[in-house]
Every structure is written in C-alpha cells, then in structure tokens.
C-alpha cells in the first residue's frame, strides 16, 4: 500500500465542524424547543456519520484525504484521513448516532437535558477531530475539545459521587494534557514539524527522545485507562448516564490508544522503536493493565463498575497489540478498536435498559431478568461473548489476530496474557448471563410463560442495542469482513509495507 496518494478534500473539515456548530445550535434551540433539539442532535450525528461514510470511495481507492483549514482557523489546523482514521471516525460517529437515538427515550424527563445534548454533540466534534487530525497540534486541540466537555457528561447526575469522579477525571485529564504538551513541544524541537503520516520524525535515540516517548505514554495512558493511570476510569464511567458511559467507554478512551498508535508509528517510527526497545515499557504496562483490570472486574458487583473495569482490561489488549509491532498484531489491534467499541457500547446501553426497567445495578439480583428483558439480555450475551472472545464473534477474530501477531513478533508469551484475559472475561461476564437466564429466582419459565412478564424497553432504546449486537456478529460471520479488510490495510499502512 505504498501507492497512497493525497486528495485535497473539505469533507473532514465539514465532518468536524458540523457537530461543533450543531452543539451550539442544539443548546440555543433547546432553550425553547426540547423536541426539536433532540431530533436536531440525531440529525447532526447522523450527518457526521454520512460525511464520514462519504470519504469511503476515496479511501477505498487508496487515497488519503488532506485538508488544511487555514481559511477557517488561523491555528495551522490540518486534517489528514487515512484508512485508520476513517475506520475509527466512522465507527465512532455511528456509535454516537446510536447513543443519541437511545438518549431520546433514556433522558426523557431527566434534569439538565439541554446541557447533556449540547455536550454530547460537542464531544463528538472533539472525537472526530482527534481521529481525523493531520498533525499533533490538531490532535491536541481536539483531544482537549473532547476530554474537557466530557467532564460535563460525567458530572451530569450532580450527586456528590459524580462531582468527585468528575473532579478526579478533570485533574487527571489536565495532568495528561501537560505531558502531551511537553512531548509535543519536544517533538517540534526534534523535527521542526509535528505532522502525522510520516515514517518517524524523531531521528535518533536520546534521553530527551525517551522522555518525550514517556510523556506521550503518560498523556495517552491516562486517557486510555492504562494501569496505573486508569484510576479515574472506574469512577467516572459508571456515574455518567448510560448512553454517555457507552460513549466514554466505547469510543472516547480509544482516542488515547489511537494517539499512542499514531505517535509510535508516525512520530517515532518503527525503526527507532525496534532499535531502542522502548515499547517494552508499554508491553509491561499493557500486561499489567490486562491482568489488573480483568481481575478487579471479577470483584465488582455493580454492573457498570464491572463494565468499566472490563474496559480497562480491553484497553490493555489494545495497548499490547500496538507494542508488539508485527503486522498481524496491528491488524488485530485496529480490529479490536472496532470490536471493543461496538461490544462495550452495546453492553453499557444494555446496562442502561436494565437499570431503567428493573431498577437494579447489583448483578447478584439479576435473577430472571432474561425473561423480562429477553432481547436486551440476548444482545448483552452476544456482546459479552464478543469480549470473552468466543467464536463466532468479532472479539474472537481480534484476539486471534493479536495472538498470532505475538507469535510473529517472536514473543509468544504475550499470547498467554491474551488467553488469560479471555478466561478472566469469561469469569466475570458469563455469570451475568447465567444469572439472567438460568437463575432459580427466575419466574418459573414453564412453556410459554416467558411471555407473561415481558417488560422490554422502548423501541428507540432497543434498536441501537440490537444494531450494535448485530455489529458484533454480522461482520465476523460474513465472508467480506469489511472492518477487518480496513484493519489489514491500516496495519500495512502503519508499518509502511
């Protein structure tokens, strides 16, 4: 795929500007007309998704969309969309759209809805900008534009717990930004440029280069929930409203891993990393992340907290994949971005339905909810199987590719960490499914009696869940696995093969 060519396009700019303007518009409209605002938000997120998809023909030809927004913004902001950015931006826009649709019913009658919708759309702008950024400065700006407003989503419930979690999130995010800023400045010092898309800007190893690398590790590690910097995540994600948790856990923490991926392969470059062995730092940390996140998840009985710790574990897999530095590992890595985003957001949306319909958060009290919420719990089961890595779902593909990548990289021991992760995921996910469907506390499910206490959620809440659950299975089962093809191309592109 060395035959990439650049295409000037304003699509990325429009895709990012649309939610940015849409957020302000939604807030103003929402002051008077609530319903109009809700549908405006849906339209804006759907529009962003459409704009992302509109880039596909050029991407499929092997092109790279480039836009310098000098006219619009004097900051030297630039966008550069290759396969990787395109895939992640599309997936996140799709999930945003589904979460907004889900919010229509979920947030009905809640307080602060106007604020909620405006910030929901604003964070989409930040997230898209991060994935489509063409240089580190743009990445930084949109990274902040996503991270800081996200605190408003975390604090939404306005309980003491939420305030504390949001403060922790905010302080750690700001701390991460400082590290990011330092490393960005240092990169500029090395190379005189912070543009992404090259083979490596930092020429040779030095102490300052290592510090720069570690600065990036800390900055993106905080966002990605890497142990020991994950501490904000299990507090912040569960307190947010469920659709916001889905976005926080499903997409926003992926921006940290995405930034790390870009920085490793395009700022430092494969040769330098191979030569210095710096990614071994990340290898060790990612194994710690996998094990600690998964093991702590076993001890949590609050559903959303368990899901949040599971996110930590899954981010460990993603960080592990990028630091293995082999083609199949990277393929699995990029595919796991997709698989985990879809499955995790599906799980959080299911958790929202469970909490709203049954009022229960403690998974030990879930006995028999599978009979009350059959569709929700079936989708929950599919998403859980995906994350455990049971065939035939997406998660199996990504974990298989990651393990194969570990063998390619000559480090088969790390495949063991991935297998251990699968086992631990089974230990904390399957009991939820089992309790929901097979627990004796279930209403005696004699033949046909399953129908009698059916209390399934509203269709606009159910539809996003079903779509996401299908997303876990359909691509894996089809012969033309579109995200996997894109992941393969992205991996080759990152490795410059």
């Amino acid at each position: 795929m060395s035959s990439t060519f650049e295409i000037a396009s304003c699509l990325p700019v429009v895709a990012v500007m649309l939610p940015l303007v849409g957020a302000a518009a939604a807030y103003l409209v929402g002051l008077r007309w609530g319903l109009l605002r809700n549908w405006l938000c849906c339209a804006v997120t759907a529009g962003s998704l459409a704009l992302c998809l509109a880039m596909y023909p050029d991407i499929a030809r092997g092109g790279v969309l480039v836009a310098r927004a000098a006219v619009l913004l004097p900051l030297g902001i630039s966008f550069r969309v290759d396969v990787l950015g395109f895939l992640l931006a599309t997936v996140s826009a799709a999930i945003w759209f589904l979460a907004t649709l889900y919010s229509l019913e979920y947030m009905r009658g809640e307080h602060g809805v106007n604020r909620y919708y405006a910030f929901l759309v604003l964070t989409l702008a930040g997230s898209l900008g991060t994935f489509l950024a063409g240089d580190l400065l743009t990445l930084f700006i949109f990274f902040e534009l996503m991270s800081l407003p996200a605190a408003v989503l975390v604090i939404h419930e306005e309980t003491q717990e939420a305030v504390r979690a949001a403060l922790k999130y905010l302080f750690m995010t700001i701390g991460g930004s400082l590290f990011f800023f330092f490393s960005m400045v240092a990169t500029y010092q090395f190379a005189g440029s912070v543009a992404l898309g090259g083979r490596g800007l930092v020429g040779e190893a030095s102490t300052l280069a290592f510090l720069t690398f570690m600065g990036f590790v800390v900055a993106f590690g905080i966002k990605a929930g890497m142990v020991p910097l994950h501490v904000w995540l299990p507090d912040a994600h569960p307190v947010a409203p469920s659709p916001a948790s889905a976005l926080l856990s499903g997409v926003m923490i992926k921006t940290g891993a995405y930034g790390m991926l870009r920085v490793m392969y395009e700022i430092f470059g494969l040769d330098l990393l191979r030569q210095t062995g710096w990614p071994s730092v990340l290898l060790g940390l990612s194994v710690a992340t996998i094990l600690l996140g998964s093991m702590v998840a076993v001890t949590q009985f609050d559903l959303k907290r368990r899901l949040a710790y599971s996110s930590v574990g899954q981010m460990g897999c993603i960080l592990l994949g990028m630091s293995l530095m082999s083609e199949r590992a990277l393929t699995g890595d990029v595919f796991h971005f997709f698989a985990d985003a879809v499955a995790k957001s599906c799980l959080f949306l299911c958790a929202g339905v469970i909490m709203k319909e049954t009022g229960k958060r403690d998974i030990r009290q879930f006995g028999g909810i599978g009979h009350r919420l059959p569709i929700t719990m079936a989708c929950f089961a599919i998403a859980a199987f995906t994350l455990v890595g049971i065939p035939p779902f997406n998660g199996f593909i990504s974990k298989l590719q990651l393990s194969l990548g570990a063998f390619d990289a000559g480090m088969p021991g790390y495949a063991l960490a991935l297998l251990a992760s699968s086992m631990l995921n089974a230990v904390y996910y399957l009991p939820i499914v089992i309790t929901a469907f097979f627990d004796r506390a279930a209403p005696a499910a004699a033949n046909g009696a399953g129908r009698r206490r059916l209390a399934e959620a509203h269709p606009t809440m159910l539809a996003p869940i079903v779509v996401l659950a299908l997303g876990c299975a359909v691509f894996a089962l089809s012969s033309e696995n579109w995200p996997l093809r894109l992941s393969e191309t992205a991996a080759r592109l990152l490795l410059r093969r």
Partner: protein, 730 residues
C-alpha cells in the same frame, strides 16, 4: 452364528490418498442443521410441543442425509471452504472418520430427541433449541476440514451443551454447570493455544500438514491440543466434572452428553495424535496408554461403589473412554500397523454411544415411574417393564463385553491391539493388558449390579407397569440395533469402522491385518471369559456384603483442587482490588491539601502587614530617638515640658542626657513587649487550649508573655553560643 472377519471382507480396501474435490455438500448439511435451530425456536414459540416434533424431524432428516452421504460418498473427500469467515475462513470436508462420528451422533440424537419429547416437561422450547444447536455444533465439528474449524464448533458444542446441563436450574445443576462451563472454556483456550503453536510451526492448521510435528514446540502443540480435548473426553485426572455434570442434566440430555458429546474429545485426540512424527509417537503412546489405564480403572472402581444410577453410568462413561483411549494409544505405539488399535477405538466409540445412550434412556424410563435414582431404593423398579428390561440386558451385556454383543467385539479388537503391541516389544504392555482385563472385570461387576438391582431383585412396593408406545419403539429399535451389531460385528466393522480408519491414514497392509481377528474364535472368547468370570465373582462377593466397601481412595479429590484453585483465584482478584485501591490518587489530594495548608501557614509569616507594623514601630522609635537627640528640644525642654525650675534646667547636660537615654530604653522595651505579645497573642489565638488558660487579666498575660519571650531569647542565644563553641572547637 459365527462370522469371522475374513468371510465378509473379500478384499481389503486399499484406498489411495485422494485429493479432495471441491463441493458444497458438507456446507449444505451443516446449514440445514443450523437453519433447524431457529425453526425449532419458532415452532416452540408458536406451540410448545411442536418444538420436540420439529427437533425430531430435523435429527431424522440429518440422519437420513448423512446415511445417504455415507453410502454414496466416493473415495475422495468433498471439501468446501468458506473464505473470510472469522478472519481465517472455515474449511469443511466430508471425510470418512468425521462422517462415521456424525452418523453415530445423529442416530443417537434422533433417539434421544424422541425420548425427550415425553420426558422434558419444563422449558421445553429452550431444551429443544439448545439440543438442536448442540447437534449442529456436533455436525460442524465432525465435518470440519481443519483444526481451526474444529475448534470453532468445539466451542459451540461446549456452550450449547451447557444449557442442557443446567436445564433443571436447581442449585446442583447450576454448580455442575459452572464447573462444566469453565472447564470447557479452559479446555477451549488450551486448544486455541495449541492451534497458535501449531500454526507457528506448520503455517496452518490442516489435519495432515506437510511437516510432522517434532521437537519441543511440536510436543507443546500436541500437548496443549490433547489437554483441551481430554477435558471434554473426561480422561483422568480431568474427568471430575463429568460425574457431576452428566447426572445433573435431564436423562435424554445425559444420554447425549455421555454417549455422544464426550466423543468430540476422542475425535479431537485421534486427529491430534496423527500430527506426531514417528520418533515422538512412541513416547506419546506410552503416556496416553497409562492415562487411559488410569482412566478405565478409576472410572470402573468409582462406578462400582456408586449408588446414584446416573452417576454410576457417568463413571462408567469415564471408564469406557479409558478403553477407547487405550485403543488410540495402541494405534500410536504400533505406528504403521496401528489400524487395529484405531479400529478398536472407533468401534468402541460406536458401541459405547449406543449402549450408554440406551442405558441412560432406560434409566430415565424407570425414573419416570419410580422418581428415585438411588440403587438402594430402586430394587426391582423395572420389573413391570419387559421391553425395557430386555433392552437393558442387551445394553448392559454390551457394556460388559459379553460374547455376542457389540461391546465384546470392540473390546476384543482393543485387547488384540494390546497383545500385538506387546508382541512387537513395547515395554510395559504386559502390565497394561492385565489392567485392561481388570477394568473389563470391573465393568462386568457394575453392569451385573445394575441388572440385578433394577430388574431381578424383589421390589419393595408394587409399581404400575406398562410402557408407552414411544418407549416400546425406542427400546425395540435400539435393542435391535445393538443385537444386530453384536451378532454380525464383522459386517459393521467392515462397512462402518474400516473406512473411517482408512480415512485417518492407515494403509492397506494394516487393514489386511484386521482380517486375522476372529471375533468368535476360541482365543477371543477365552480372552473375554476371563474378565466375565472375574467380574461376576466380584459382583457375587460384593452382593453378599451389600456393596458396602471402603475403598482406599485418597483423602483429596480433583474437586478439592478445583475449590482450591477457585479460592486462590478469588484471593488473587481481591488482592488486585486492594492494589487498585492503593493506586487511587486520593492520597495525592490528601497530601496535597496538607501541603497547601502548611504553605498557607508559612505565608502568614511573610505577611507584609506584619512587616508594616514592625516597620511602623521602628519608624516611631527612630522618630522618638531623633526627637530625643534634637539639641534644640533639649534646650527648650523646660519650657516645652513645663519644668518649673530654671536651676534644674541648668543642672547640667549629663543629667539631661541620662534622662534621654532612660526614655529611649523605656520606649525600646515597650516596643519589644508589644511585638512579642503580638506574636504570642497569635499563637494563643491559633491554639485554643492556650486561649482557655488565659483567662487571667490582660495585664498579667502580657507580663507572662514577656517573661516567656525573654526566656526564649535567652535560650536561643545560649544555644547559638554553644553551637559556636562546638563548631569552632572542631
């Protein structure tokens, strides 16, 4: 009817290794099975009892299809590939070994589904949906064309059969199900790990890769794969889940689990062992042989002492799996001549599926009437059921290996394989043969016990007899099948087993060798009579003691190991939680807050307001001093101060200067006093305990403060002097 193998095997089939031809057949069969699953669900949602009918129709259709395929399949296998699925693509093939296993599975499935229609009463739709799903998984497993596809469907079987295990949803079933599920997943992960190693060696996961596995990596791959499949097969020491999970399921599901599902493990092991290079095969063969010996002995012993009928049958399954694995070991040890071992193993797979499945279903029929499972309360429980009794006798005879039954034929082959392996000088085979006979005797003993208790001993209470038509049909059909196999074993061996053995890569000469086995020859019957006599004697002895035997079993069991591992895991997770709590940065906030407080206190010291105050004081003193020094003032002082006497004024300047000095000293003293009292007053304000004490009049307090200040100043000066002395002395 004495039929020797040579009669019905005119020419040994010499089948060249054929290249597969592409075709859609295996895929069509699998898709039919998969499509049946939602159909069964729909039927169940429409009308509950339709689920069972549709499940039966699906199983019978598949059975018919497979039978037609078996008959019409040519020598070359049909392979179909589904590219891209799961990132790797799935490979399917119609090959003889898989088809044989699939035929056996589907046949028993049809019987068990027919039985379940009248047995399963609650959550019927769920039962039949998962039963059909499990059947589809089984078919996919046996039609798989490489290890990757095998693994995918292995997982499907594991998960789908979980729903069958926990079907009763009581605490026992859920606990057994947990064990089953997690061991199944661990086994699956072990297989996946083996596949990864295999892929890194051979570059693929084909059944017959171009390079045979050798060396440490090859050994690791095979070990991981075999370990994973051994969990499913129930080989000692990984058998412990089986006697808990199989009895927990409804009886028709137990029949499937024990008769068919554990055979997926056997098939996997057989395929895996075929990967080994010749030099490692001998070592692996010995290893597998002794594991098999342990399995058949332990399973048999535990079955003999068990009171619960279903658990007894489950232990018996463990034991019989040991017999089958013994055949696999012999096939490995005999290398190119291993056809006889493999034939024995596959034939026993076939026989065991039917006799064990039948036994479970017959026990279920008895249970439907007696509602008991303990042998102690089941005396003569089957006496009113003549057909059930007859079928039970046939099945138990097959299990015991009585001449004239299917089990006899397969055990004869297995025994022959052991003798041959001993003949070519494999060490330790003499002992293995003795153990084999001992295990066979144990089988005879518990089979005799089952028959005796259920159908011969005198009942304590009269129970209503009479069999329902479905039960009559099942008993007649299954019993007739087993009789047919038992009376013409050669025919079944030739038509069913040998093609499968050939398909596993055993060549013509070894197949020819099978012609020398005479099932009803004198030597074979004599070999079978020994265990029979021994087993009956054991049964008689135990009957007199009412089966109250204290086995010298170790005080620990694998269940305890599992408990320990679970506890350890939980402890590790709690430890991780503690670690996670320690990582929480709230201590940063706490210490940061303390630090900020401290800085705030320090900051008041540098408060410019105080400096201003001191400065003002200093300025005032300076002004007064200046004023005091002013000679003009001195000159006019009398007038200014209104001193009356001019003599006094003229008393001279020394007196005046002294006066001024005293005045200045007084002013300085006042300043020190006010400054120190100011500082101490702050301390008093800051420390409430000091404040409480100071209820004395303000004047006294300031005096006290002055004293304290003086003492402090003095002590500081003293310490400074001492330090100076010490430092200068060094």
């Amino acid at each position: 009817m004495l039929v020797s193998l040579t009669d019905c095997l005119p020419t040994a089939p010499v089948i060249p290794a054929a290249s597969p031809t592409p075709g859609m057949l295996p895929l069509v069969v699998l898709l039919a099975a998969l499509v049946a699953v939602p159909l069964v669900a729909l039927a169940g949602a429409w009308r509950g009892h339709r689920a069972a009918d549709l499940g039966l129709v699906a199983a019978l259709t598949l059975l018919g299809t497979l039978a037609v395929l078996w008959v019409t399949a040519g020598e070359s296998q049909v392979a179909s590939r589904v590219p891209g699925v799961l990132g790797q693509g799935l490979d399917f093939a119609l090959h003889r070994p898989g088809l044989m296993f699939a035929l056996v599975s589907t046949g028993l499935w049809a019987a068990a589904t027919a039985f379940a229609a009248g047995y399963v009463s609650r959550a019927r739709t769920r039962y039949f949906v998962f039963s059909t799903l499990c059947l589809a998984g089984n078919l996919g497993f046996y039609l798989a064309g490489d290890f990757f596809t095998l693994f995918v469907f292995f997982e499907l079987v594991s998960l789908a059969s979980y729903a069958l295990v926990v079907h009763e949803q009581d605490e026992e079933a859920l606990a057994a199900g947990r064990l089953y599920l997690y061991l199944g997943i661990l086994g699956g992960l072990s297989i996946l790990g083996g596949l990864l190693v295999l892929g890194s060696i051979t570059g693929g996961t084909a059944f017959a890769p171009e390079v045979k596995l050798a060396g440490r990596a090859g050994g690791l791959a095979v070990a991981l794969l075999v370990l994973g499949f051994a969990v499913k097969a129930g080989l000692v020491p990984l058998h412990f889940w089986l006697p808990r999970a199989h009895p927990a399921a409804p009886t028709p599901a137990s029949a499937l689990l024990s008769g068919v599902v554990i055979k997926t493990g056997i098939y996997g092991i057989a395929r895996t062992l075929g990967l080994l290079a010749a030099d490692q095969a001998a070592v692996a063969g010995q290893l597998v042989l002794w594991v098999a010996a342990a399995t058949m002995l332990l399973g048999g012993t535990l079955a003999l002492c068990e009171v619960n009928v279903k658990r007894l049958l489950a232990y018996s399954s463990v034991s019989q799996i040991g017999f089958i694995t013994c055949g696999l070991a012999c096939a490995l040890l005999l290398a190119d001549d291993g056809a006889i071992g493999m034939a024995g193993a596959l034939f026993h797979v076939f026989n065991h599926a039917f006799f064990k499945g039948t036994l479970f279903m017959l026990v279920g029929m008895v249970y439907l009437r007696a509602h008991r499972l303990e042998l102690t309360s089941l005396r003569g429980a089957g006496r009113g059921l003549p057909l059930v009794g007859a079928a039970f006798l046939v099945a138990a005879a097959g299990m015991a290996g009585v001449p004239g039954s299917g089990g006899y034929a397969s055990k004869t082959l297995l025994h022959e394989a052991l003798v041959e392996a001993a003949h070519i000088g494999v060490p330790g085979l003499g002992l293995a043969e003795v153990l084999f006979k001992a295990a066979a005797a144990l089988t005879v003993a518990y089979a005799a016990r089952l028959c005796y208790v259920l159908f011969i001993s005198r009942p304590e209470e009269r129970r209503p007899g009479g069999e329902r038509p479905v039960e009559q049909g099942l008993t007649l059909g299954l019993g007739g099948l087993m009789l047919a196999v038992g009376l013409r074993p050669g025919l079944w061996l030739e038509r069913l087993v040998l093609p499968a053995v050939t398909g596993l890569g055993y060549g013509g000469k070894a197949i020819e060798h099978l012609g020398h086995v005479e099932f009803f020859g004198l030597a074979a019957i004599k070999g079978a009579l020994w265990p029979l006599a021994l087993g009956l004697a054991l049964f008689g002895y135990l009957l007199r003691r009412d089966f109250r035997v204290a086995l010298p079993l170790p005080g620990w069991s694998m269940a305890r190991v599992v408990t320990a591992v679970t506890r350890g895991g939980e402890a590790a997770c709690r430890l991780a939680e503690r670690l996670d709590a320690m990582l929480d940065p709230s201590w940063v906030a706490r210490w940061g807050g303390a630090l900020c407080h401290l800085v705030g206190r320090l900051d008041t010291i540098f408060d410019p307001a105080r400096a201003l105050r001191y400065g003002e004081d200093a300025c005032r003193i300076a002004r007064e001093f200046d004023a005091a020094m002013d000679p003009e003032r001195a000159l006019f002082r009398p007038e200014v101060e209104g001193a009356p006497s001019g003599v006094d004024a003229a008393a001279g300047w020394p007196a005046r200067w002294f006066d001024r000095l005293a005045h200045a000293l007084r002013a300085f003293g006042g300043w020190v006093k006010s400054a120190v009292s100011d500082a101490l007053g702050q301390v008093v304000r800051a420390d409430p305990t000091l404040g409480e004490k100071s209820e004395a009049p303000p004047g006294r307090m300031s005096l006290m403060n002055l004293n304290v200040a003086g003492m402090m100043i003095v002590s500081v000066v003293v310490v400074a002097l001492l330090l100076l002395v010490v430092l200068s002395g060094r």
